[in-house]
Amino acid sequence: MTQALFGQLLVGLINGSFYALLSLGLAIIFGLLDVVNFAHGAQYMLGAYLAWMGLTWLGIGYWVALFAAPAAVGILGMAVERLLLRRLRGLDNLYGLLLTFGLALAVEGLFRQGFGISGNSYPVPAQLTGAKNLGFMVLPIYRAWVVVASLVVCFSSWLVIEKTRLGAYLRAGTENPRMLQAFGVNVPLMFTVTYGFGAALAAFAGVMAAPVYQVTPTMGSQVIIVVFAVVVIGGMGSILGAIVTGLGLGLLEGAAKFFWPEISGTVVFIAMALVLLLRPAGLFGRQR
C-alpha cells in the first residue's frame, strides 16, 4: 500500500523534475525575448534522440551525451534565434508562438519519418544501475539521480539569475531591453545566447529523460502541452515559481495515479482550470 503510493510519488517527482527544468527554460526565454517557445518540446526530444543516436551509432556514452547533446541543441537554438526569431521582433508575440509551433511540427515530422512512432529504449548508465531499499520503498538509483541533478541545475540557474552580474543583465533585459542597450550591453547577442541556453536546458532534460521513458518522436509534444499548463498555473513571472510549480504538479500527478488513476492524465489541466477560477493571474504570477 504505502510502497505503491511512494512508488507513484517518486514517478511524480521525476515527471515534476522534467516539468521544472522545461518550464524554467520557457520562463527564461519568455522573460527576455517575449517568445513562448513552442519548440521547447522538440528541443527536449532532440536531446533524447541525440543521446540515443550517439550511443547506438557512435558508441558515445551517457556522460558525454549529457553535455554534448545540450551543447549541440543550444547551438542549433542560437541559429534559430539569429536566423528566424530575430525577424519577428517588434511584432505581436503571437507570431513567435506560431513560428516555433511550425518548427516543432517540422522537426517532429522529420523524426517520425526517420524513426517511426514506436519508441527506442536507452539503457541506464552502468554507474547508476541498481536500486536501494529504503524500507518503506525501493529507490532505483537512476531515478534518484534524475531528481537530484534536475534540482541542482534548476537552483544553480536560479542562483546565476538572481545573484550574478550576468543574471542582473538578464533581469534588466527582461524589464527594459532598450535601456540596457543604451548602457552598452550587447542585447541582441544576449537574446541569442539566452534562447540557446533555454534550448540547451530542454535538451539536457531530454538526455536525462531518455533512460526513464521511451525515446519517441512525440515525447516532446506530449510533455510541452503539460508544461504549458504548468506555466499557466505558476505564471512565468518568477523563476522560482516555475520550479516549485513544476515539482508540485508532478507530485500531484503521482498522487492522482495512486488514488484515482483515471484522471492522472488530466489532473494537471483540471488544476489549471481551478487556478484560473480562483487565482486568474497564476500562483506566482503578476497579471499582464
Partner: protein, 309 residues
C-alpha cells in the same frame, strides 16, 4: 468597378465554383474541404477579428463529431438533431472553456485553450463508447427532413454546401455588424474599448462561444460526411491546422480561411501517401507564412488590388 460590384462578382464566382465542384472533383473530398472551410472561418472570427489565438479549436470540432454520431447512431435521432447536438456541444464547451480562458490574454490564452483541448482528447480516450483508437464508426447519414436520402453523394454535397453558405453568411453578417466592429476595436486597443464602456470580456466570450458553436457545426457535418468520428479530430495537430489555414489564406479577411482550407485540404489529400512528410511540409509552410507572408493569400491579393486601382 465599384466595391459592391466587385464583391458581387467575387461571391458569384465562389458560389458558382461551389455549385460545380461535385462534378469536377470527388464529392467527399469537396465536402471535407467545405467543412474545413467552415471550421477555419469560424476560427477566423476569433483570431482575425477579436485577436484571440485559440490553440484548442480541435476540441469543438472533435467533440461535436462524437456527439452528432452518438445521438444518431445510438439514439436513432434524425440527422438534423445530430447537427443541433454538435452545435450545442460546441457552444457548451466553448462557454465553459471560454469563460476560464478569457481571464488571461495573449500568449496565456493560447496555452490555456491548448490545455483544455488536450483534456478533451484524454477524456475521449478514457470514455468507453468513443471506440478509442478505432474511432466512432458507422454514423448513419440519414434522410433530410425524412425525405431526401443523404446517402446519395450529390444530395449530401448540396446539403453540406447549403449549410456552409448559411453559416458563411452568418459569419460575414457578424463581422459587418456593430458587434463585429466592437470586436475589432477590442483587438486594436483593449484598454480603450474598456474605457469607452464596452464590457470587453462579455464581447470576447460571445465571440468565443459563437466560434466554438460554428466549429461544432463543422465537426458534426464532417462526422456525417465521413460517417465516423476519430481521435485525430481532437488532437492538437487539428488545432494547429486550423491556425495554418487561417494564416495561409489571410486572417482577418472574410474569404481567406476558405482559401486556406482549400489549399491545406488539397495538400493533405494529394500528399497523403508521403506519410509524415506532410507534417514536415505543414510545419515549413507555417514558418514561411509567419516569416514573410503574414497577410496570407487573400490579404496579399487585396493589398495588390488596392495598390493598382
Amino acid at each position: 468597378m465599384t466595391v459592391r460590384a466587385r464583391a458581387v462578382l467575387g461571391y458569384g464566382l465562389l458560389v458558382g465554383i461551389g455549385l460545380a465542384a461535385p462534378f469536377l472533383v470527388y464529392p467527399v473530398f469537396a465536402m471535407n474541404v467545405l467543412c474545413l472551410a467552415l471550421f477555419a472561418s469560424a476560427f477566423n472570427l476569433l483570431l482575425g477579428y477579436a485577436g484571440l489565438l485559440s490553440f484548442g479549436h480541435a476540441a469543438f470540432l472533435g467533440a461535436a463529431a462524437y456527439a452528432a454520431g452518438y445521438v444518431t447512431r445510438e439514439w436513432g435521432l434524425p440527422t438534423e438533431a445530430g447537427l443541433l447536438a454538435g452545435v450545442a456541444v460546441g457552444a457548451g464547451l466553448g462557454l465553459g472553456f471560454g469563460a476560464l480562458a478569457i481571464r488571461r490574454s495573449g500568449i496565456y490564452f493560447a496555452m490555456i485553450t491548448l490545455g483544455f483541448a488536450q483534456l478533451v482528447y484524454f477524456l475521449a480516450i478514457e470514455i468507453p463508447w468513443t471506440g478509442g483508437e478505432d474511432g466512432f464508426q458507422g454514423i448513419p447519414r440519414g434522410k433530410l427532413l425524412g425525405v431526401l436520402n443523404l446517402d446519395r453523394p450529390l444530395v449530401m454535397y448540396y446539403f453540406v454546401y447549403a449549410i456552409f453558405l448559411a453559416a458563411f453568411w452568418l459569419i460575414q453578417r457578424t463581422i459587418a455588424s456593430p458587434f463585429g466592429h466592437v470586436l475589432r476595436a477590442i483587438r486594436e486597443n483593449e484598454p480603450r474599448a474598456l474605457s469607452l464602456g464596452y464590457e470587453v470580456s462579455r464581447y470576447k466570450l460571445t465571440a468565443f462561444v459563437l466560434s466554438a458553436a460554428l466549429s461544432g457545426l463543422a465537426g458534426a457535418l464532417r462526422a456525417f460526411v465521413n460517417q465516423f468520428a476519430a481521435l485525430p479530430d481532437l488532437y492538437w495537430h487539428t488545432s494547429g491546422n486550423v491556425v495554418l489555414m487561417t494564416l495561409l489564406g489571410g486572417m482577418g479577411t472574410v474569404t481567406g480561411p476558405s482559401v486556406g482550407a482549400l489549399l491545406v485540404g488539397v495538400l493533405e489529400n494529394y500528399l497523403a501517401g508521403l506519410g509524415s512528410w506532410v507534417t514536415v511540409i505543414t510545419g515549413t509552410v507555417f514558418v514561411l507564412c509567419v516569416l514573410s507572408f503574414r497577410r496570407g493569400i487573400v490579404g496579399e491579393v487585396r493589398a495588390l488590388v488596392k495598390r493598382s486601382f
